[in-house]
Amino acid sequence: MAQAVVAAEPAEVEPGQIVAHGHDTNTGVSNAKLAIWLFLSSEALFFGAFISTYFLYRGRDAQFLHGPTPDQLLNIPFTSVTSFILLMSSLTMVLALAAIQRGDHRRLRIWLLATAIFGATFVGGQVYEFTEFYRQGLHLGTNMFGTTFFVLTGLHGAHVTVGIIWLLLVWSRSMQGRLPQEKSEAVEIAGLYWHFVDIVWIFIFTAIYLIPTHT
């Protein structure tokens, strides 16, 4: 019955059968893109757990341990600038993807590098911020702000760093001429991760810097 129909279709046995691209998957989304979306949904809960913990412990410093409080430490204008740079890196990421999709490899490389440099600027700003806070007496164990701030922003910074390395690998692949236009999905997937890390920062920035601590 059923297989009689199939046996008449030798095309089904063609090489490359299991290498699924967008057009021959059941959902129409390519395997790699579906996988990165699923992975990012998992990451969202990872950051969600740390952000919830931050909110739970927010403002508990005064009653317990001493040491500098967030309003003494946070340099909002400085971090706003580095945050703006990080958000702009999402724009350059979009430009990089647009470039490879129309086959402009020179601009692809420029925008990839720009994205990585913007990201590195953000991480550099974070390193400066950490050292500054440490100098002013905020350690991991000083108070709940120290505990939650360093771990939450540190994990985010680690994610940005991974993203920078990823972008540089994509860039070097393009420099070696091994990233043709039809493989633009490699850029798109790195971009999805990058945008995700940016969006997470919007939440973290709001939680830590914009919502007043002592109400």
Binding site: A2, Q3, V29, F46, G48, Y57, L140, N143, M144, V151
Partner: protein, 648 residues
């Protein structure tokens, strides 16, 4: 058939040399072919073998626990060793048996059941296995490296999180536990993503979602649960590790931390985890019962939706593990209600299974016996579970042996019975030989007797107040006889597992060869030879209905009686539908690889670096991980033929 001939010509062309960091592994036989394999079936067999090894290690720990508790004032284990054994018993059975055995069955069966030739990401699949292997070895290496985990499988803070120097748990055990579980979590998420993409994207033509076998549905649900349950517990474990080693105060109440937050983060993982463990068992049983009743599964869509409902409701019941932690009456009532609610889809499934068997032409083969054992014992476990939704009753039972009895009825009486049923059912497909039925029945009955003898008395011990996780008890509490019975039962279980192993060895040597479809079954995996060829399906099947393979074999006459279709449908003795002139070389399967293994090995390297604060080891691990990922990224999944499609 020009395509096939062209491909054959390509295969015999000389091999091209590649300039890479590592040459692609080429072994197709011998141990090295297993180490580097990306074939989902070989990976599944490795998952299963290693999980059963850990099952036996965890079982030996349980035997020591039972020996210690057989008599009052037992002296076989010291209190400290007892803590290590019950912690590692729980951790092993959850993370090194329950989750990997689901990955084993899922890996082998999901592609076969949906008509695919492999999973979506064969190398990520390989990575999942090797992370499991590395994580398991890492956890167990703690016995030799400064003490095993001893804070319970749930590792409550602040017991586990107090800094090492002043800590309640002075050894390295809790550090090994945190890092080991984070590692295993990474592997589980990789495996979950792989299953999700495979099931959502790689189904054969016509295999719509509502034509998928229930087992595939249950793997889909647990993959989603794993994806969303692992991150919170990973966060909690990171916090515990930071508290112990880096002076943070996440769970230090004296500094403003909140130990209750740990319980929330842990159980928001921990309760979905329970369903991650049991749903594959439900899937296995839903495959076995129809075949041995010669009836379709009763209410297929209801069973599927009940499984999904369990998956959703599983997120709203976590605090029933915390009723004595002082959440307040409103939270406690809400979680009590949601716990009652989740019994509904579970009950629906049980009635559907019963209705499947009802009126069927039941064949009591060993696989069917285990499936029926599952229903009976899981129902008992489910009922004691509903008892826990009654908050005052739960408060009374918290931390007593009643809880131990409850979850062993669900996870041993449920999951383990389903797994053994699955072994007897699919063994012919996995290895091409039938497990011996006589030994199988001995295995089953010993396990039923041993299991109930071990765990049924624990209900009473719990009501009489015997606490969990306590290494001994004085005589005169009225607990002596029941504890002795439980210990005898545990050794009967061990005997039944031995009978299974004897059966495996006997089958490997003298077992009856299995045809493609020994049980006259319903799903696609039985339509191909036993064991299946590497490429699974010579011709990708086109699916026209639920239980498609059954409908290829049978139709109904006017009065609703089954009529076997003539051959050309399928000849049940040999379901090989390989077309004439078919050349397996024309199918390009993913090539073996070293890279996932290299990346997997980097994780315990980093892990030891963290546990012993050896930053050189940590840096070495990071470098190996980077090397592994870059090599992985450069290597194509399938080695291109000399003048293949790769254009550069």
């Amino acid at each position: 058939m020009t395509t096939v001939e062209d491909a054959t010509a390509l295969v015999h062309a000389p091999e091209k040399k590649h300039s890479r960091l590592l040459d692609r592994p080429r072994a197709t036989t011998g141990p090295w072919s297993w180490v580097t394999t990306v074939d989902h079936k070989k990976i599944a067999i490795m998952y299963g073998t290693l999980a059963i090894c850990f099952f036996m290690v965890g079982g030996v720990e349980a035997l020591f626990i039972r020996l210690q508790l057989a008599r009052p004032n037992g002296t076989i284990l010291s209190a400290a060793r007892y803590n290590e054994f019950f912690t590692m018993h729980g951790t092993t059975m959850v993370f090194l048996l329950g989750m990997p055995i689901a990955a084993a069955f899922g890996n082998y069966l999901v592609p076969l059941m949906i008509g695919a030739r492999d999973v979506a990401f064969p190398r990520m699949n390989m990575l999942g296995f090797w992370i499991f292997a590395c994580g398991g070895i890492f956890l167990y290496s703690s016995f030799a490296l400064g003490g095993a985990p001893d804070g319970g499988w749930f590792g409550y803070a602040p017991l586990t999180s107090t800094p090492l120097a002043a800590g309640y748990l002075p050894g390295r055990g809790a550090d090994f536990w945190c890092v080991g579980l984070i590692m295993l979590g990474i592997g589980s998420v990789a495996t979950a993503v792989n299953f999700l993409v495979t099931i959502l994207n790689m189904r054969a033509p016509g295999m719509t979602m509502m034509r998928m076998p229930v087992f595939v549905w249950m793997i889909l649900v647990i993959a989603f649960l794993t994806l969303f349950a692992m991150p919170p517990v990973t966060a909690a474990l990171i916090m515990v590790f930071m508290d112990r080693n880096f002076h943070t105060n996440f769970f230090n109440a004296a500094a403003g931390g909140d130990p209750l937050m740990y319980q929330n983060l842990f159980w928001i993982f921990g309760h979905p985890e329970v369903y991650i463990l049991i749903l594959p068992g439900m899937g296995i049983v839903s495959e076995i019962l129809p075949v041995f009743s010669r009836k379709p599964l009763f209410g297929y869509s209801i069973v599927v939706f009940s499984g999904i409902a369990i998956g959703f409701l599983g997120w709203g019941v976590w605090a029933h593990h915390m009723f004595v932690s002082g959440l307040g009456p409103i939270a406690v009532s809400a979680f009590g209600l949601s716990t009652m609610l989740i019994a509904i889809p579970t009950g629906v499934k049980i009635f559907n299974w019963l209705a499947t068997v009802w009126g069927g032409a039941v064949r009591l083969r060993t696989a069917m016996l285990f499936a029926l054992g599952f229903i009976a014992q899981f129902t008992i476990g489910g009922l004691s579970g509903v008892m826990h939704s009654i908050v005052p009753s739960d408060t009374q039972q918290t931390d007593t042996y009643f809880v131990v009895a409850h979850f062993h009825y669900v996870l041993f009486g449920g999951l383990v019975f389903a797994v053994f049923g699955g072994f007897y059912y699919w063994w012919p497909k996995f290895f091409g030989r039938m497990l011996n039925e006589k030994l199988g029945k001995v295995n089953f009955w010993l396990m039923v007797i041993g299991f109930n003898l071990t765990f049924f008395p624990m209900h009473f011990l719990g009501f009489e107040g015997q606490p969990r996780r306590t290494y001994t008890y004085p005589s005169g509490m009225g607990w002596d006889t029941l504890n002795l019975l439980a210990t005898i039962g545990a050794f009967i279980i061990a005997l039944s597992v031995l009978v299974f192993l004897v059966n495996v060895i006997y089958t490997a040597r003298r077992g009856e060869e299995a045809p493609a479809d020994p049980w006259d079954a319903r799903t696609l995996e039985w339509s191909i030879p036993s064991p299946p060829p590497e490429y699974n399906f010579a011709v990708v099947p086109v699916v026209t209905s639920l239980d498609d393979y059954w409908h290829r074999k049978y139709t109904e006459d006017d009065e609703g009686r089954l009529v076997r279709l003539p051959a050309g449908g399928a000849d049940g003795a040999d379901g090989d539908q390989t077309p004439v002139g078919f050349d397996p070389h024309s199918i390009h399967m993913p090539s073996p690889s070293y890279w996932p293994l290299i990346f997997a090995v980097s994780l315990p390297t980093m892990g030891y670096g963290f546990v012993f604060k050896n930053w050189y080891l940590l840096a070495a691990g990071v470098i190996v991980a980077f090397f592994g990922l870059v090599g992985w990224g450069i290597e194509p999944p399938t080695e291109p033929e000399p003048h293949g499609t790769e254009a550069h």
